[in-house]
């Protein structure tokens, strides 16, 4: 019986393990391999170029542009959904009328794919008839046709807003779940002691929500690192590279310029950055676990 169970454990594990090895580990190792070559994606003949691709990164103006954009993207993609999600959760936890409907409405965007969300916001930002410019025109009473996604000063931030709109619902739900574990007697004590609502939130609720914050930040970090699709559909890294993140830059070099070897080197750097961030995050997670059990 035990032998048969072991057989089934191995047999059932084999398929997902095979898929994981084929779709994650093998491409990862391939990227490492190709990062040391000058492969263009078509040619079966390519040369080993050592660290040439990695040296080139240091002189690539667009790589540093992508690093800056990725930093902005990650910082905003972590902060905005976290702050907005917490604010909404606090508002909706206060037993307001129709809170269930609001919770559903705010959560809905997370059910949509990033491509759909991106397309919706492309229409919202459309300069001539988009919702945003139409509202601004109604308010100001004068013609307004700023091209949010086509101007280098606003493109990245316009995508960040769309991204945050989608991700906030997820953060809100996690915080709402966290709020159920805040002891009500503790909040009553705060009221009796004369704490202001702000003091109650800042000094009691937010610290008690730390485990939820850890989950929200973890998901935001992971999702922002994966955040390629919405940028691709909304700006494609444009106009003229102004919203290129590292993932977009890697894509451009590999699939638009046909520098597959160099693109692989960028992907290796991106992998190392992600690994460092996730390593740091797990170290912090362990500290939180030690405190909260």
């Amino acid at each position: 019986m035990e032998r048969e169970n072991r057989f089934w454990r191995v047999a059932l594990l084999a398929l997902p393990l095979f898929v994981f090895l084929a779709l994650v580990i093998w491409p990862l190792l391939s990227s490492f391999y190709y990062s040391f070559t000058n492969w263009n994606g078509f040619n079966s003949d390519y040369d080993y170029v050592g660290f040439e691709n990695f040296k080139r990164i240091w002189t690539d103006r667009l790589f540093f542009n992508a690093i800056v954009n990725t930093s902005i993207w990650m910082a905003a993609a972590i902060l905005l959904p976290t702050i907005l999600g917490l604010s909404l959760a606090l508002l909706l936890d206060a037993k307001v009328r129709g809170s269930k409907i609001f919770k559903t409405i705010f959560y809905l965007p997370i059910c949509l794919s990033a491509i759909v969300v991106g397309q919706i916001w492309v229409w919202i930002y459309q300069p001539d008839w988009g919702l945003l410019n139409t509202v601004i025109e109604q308010i100001t009473g004068s013609r307004f046709n700023y091209a949010w996604l086509a101007r280098p000063d606003s493109a990245l931030y316009a995508v960040i807003v769309a991204w945050s709109w989608q991700q906030t619902g997820l953060s809100m739900v996690i915080y709402l779940a966290g709020l159920t574990s805040v002891p009500s007697d503790l909040l009553e004590v705060c009221d009796i002691e004369g704490a202001t609502p702000w003091q109650k939130i800042r000094q009691v609720i937010i610290p008690l929500l730390t485990p939820s914050t850890v989950v929200v930040v973890a998901l935001s970090v992971i999702n922002s690192l994966k955040g390629f699709d919405i940028l691709f559909i909304m700006t494609g890294g444009g106009p003229f590279n102004s919203s290129d993140t590292l993932a977009m830059h890697m894509y451009n070099e590999s699939f638009r310029k046909y520098f597959m070897g160099y693109g692989s080197a960028i992907s290796v750097v991106l992998f190392l950055i992600a690994l460092t961030i996730i390593g740091l995050y797990f170290r912090q997670l362990k500290k939180v676990d030690d405190i909260y059990g």
């Binding site: 048969e4 089934w8 047999a11 059932l12 398929l15 263009n40 994606g41 078509f42 040619n43 079966s44 003949d45 459309q126 300069p127 001539d128 046709n145 091209a147 996604l149 086509a150 101007r151 280098p152 444009g238 106009p239 003229f240 590279n241 894509y251 451009n252 699939f255 638009r256 310029k257 046909y258 520098f259 597959m260 160099y262």
Partner: protein, 423 residues
């Protein structure tokens, strides 16, 4: 019972996996796989009709996987990098095919070309410029396009324009007149960058000439040369005068075409595929719209026409090379196929046996314009290697965003293009 269920589950999973892996091995002997970017409503319908004809006439079966035009540019590379190119795929003649030919990823068709006598079928100018790479024949042209200044006839009539300009001064006067009448003279939809390239192409070709442009495309001249500065300076003059409709970089080529169709703008510099698009909007060629060739600028410069050639190529590792060759031969050499295909696509046929009278008035004019040109030049992103084209396309978009930075933009493009050529 539990054991049986598990066994069934695993057995089914394995059967599905094995079937999926084994399926290609059992594919029909006469099947030819193909991918293409003719996905517009009319184009896809017309292409499928030609596939049906081929299948009925030849006995081969085709497995088709179309991909949208913009996505196709990267999709085909993804397939190539995964060593899973279809037997036949459509591609743009010029630097892009050259790039794959240099990578030894194409099947040479010299034998088929000679056997089918395609020298007598394909127009010589197209055959010379689009089909041979590195001494071998690789591509059969499906059709070609011509880029001209397409305009809304009613708008120009209302503005009192009776004669279309043939020189630069005349063109500037036309723009000034339209602007004065409160109409945006030119619509440009450069959100996907490539529509802006026709301005660069024509301004450079009409001033510095085809020879200099060929040097620039090959990396033997610099984007910071006086010739390029002059062409960009003329483009800047148009932008500074407010002749382009606002927000070019926010609009696609169809947005710009819609502006002209609605009469919000007067004209757009675009390829003949616009006739297919406007046909879908039920605009009548010659009545609702027409075109004029990009005006001459410097006397003595050879007259060049700009446009792309859509072709079909065969992958170097094609599973059914014989079937693929049969398909290529059929598509280019059958005049009926070519006539109905080019008509639906808003394109010109490369087959000399297609009767020009099958074209509508506007397409016939485009056909004659190309025939009268001294040079047929591929548009920018098909004339220079893909990594360099990326530099230039971004340069055009940046220029349209802020033309005042033209000097800085050209200086940076010169450095980036030089680096791309040296990779």
């Amino acid at each position: 019972m539990t054991g049986v269920n598990r066994r069934s589950l695993l057995g089914s999973a394995l059967a599905v996996t094995v079937a999926a892996i084994a399926a290609p091995a059992f594919a029909e002997k006469g099947e030819v796989t193909i991918s293409h970017y003719f996905t517009g409503e009319l184009g896809l319908k017309a292409f499928n009709e030609q596939i049906d004809r081929f299948e009925a006439d030849s006995g081969y079966s085709l497995k088709d996987s179309p991909v949208g035009h913009e996505d196709y540019k990267t999709d085909i590379l993804v397939r190539a990098s995964g060593n899973s190119l279809p037997d036949v795929f459509s591609y743009w003649a010029g630097a892009r095919v050259q790039f794959i030919a240099d990578s030894n990823a194409l099947h040479a068709i010299d034998g088929m070309w000679d056997k089918a006598g395609l020298d007598k079928v394909v127009a010589k100018s197209i055959a010379d410029s689009a089909t041979s790479y590195n001494g071998n024949r690789y591509l059969v042209p499906m059709n070609y396009h011509y880029a001209g200044m397409f305009y809304n006839k009613a708008v120009l009539d209302e503005a009192g324009v009776t004669e279309m300009p043939s020189d630069w001064d005349g063109f500037l006067a036309l723009c000034a007149k339209l602007k004065e009448a409160g109409i945006d003279p030119i619509a440009l939809g450069s959100a996907n960058r490539w529509p802006a390239q026709f301005w660069f192409d024509y301004l450079l070709l009409r001033t510095a000439g085809p020879e200099y442009r060929a040097k620039l495309m090959a990396g033997e001249a610099s984007y910071y040369d006086a010739e390029v500065k002059r062409a960009m300076g003329m483009w800047k003059d148009l932008a500074d005068a407010g002749y382009f409709a606002e927000n070019s970089n926010a609009n696609t080529w169809t947005d710009a075409s819609d502006k002209v169709a609605r009469g919000d703008a007067a004209m757009t510099l675009m390829g003949t595929w616009i006739t297919g698009y406007w046909g879908g909007l039920e605009l009548v060629p010659g009545e609702d719209y027409d075109f004029f060739p990009f005006p001459a600028i410097d006397a003595g410069v050879p007259v060049a026409s700009v446009g792309p050639v859509d072709g079909l190529v065969i992958a170097g590792n094609a599973g059914n090379a014989a079937g693929a060759e049969a398909f290529l031969e059929y598509m280019v050499s059958n005049p009926e196929v070519q006539a109905s295909w080019s008509g639906a696509q808003g394109a010109l046929s490369a087959n000399v046996n297609v009767d020009p009278s099958s074209y509508n008035d506007v397409m016939l004019k485009a056909f004659n314009t190309v025939a009268d040109s001294e040079v047929f030049a591929f548009n920018y992103d098909l004339a220079t290697p893909p990594p360099v084209a990326e530099v230039g396309l971004s340069m055009f978009a940046r220029f349209m965003d802020d033309p005042s930075k033209v000097d800085e933009i050209l200086s940076q493009a010169a450095g980036d293009a030089s680096a791309a050529f040296s990779q």
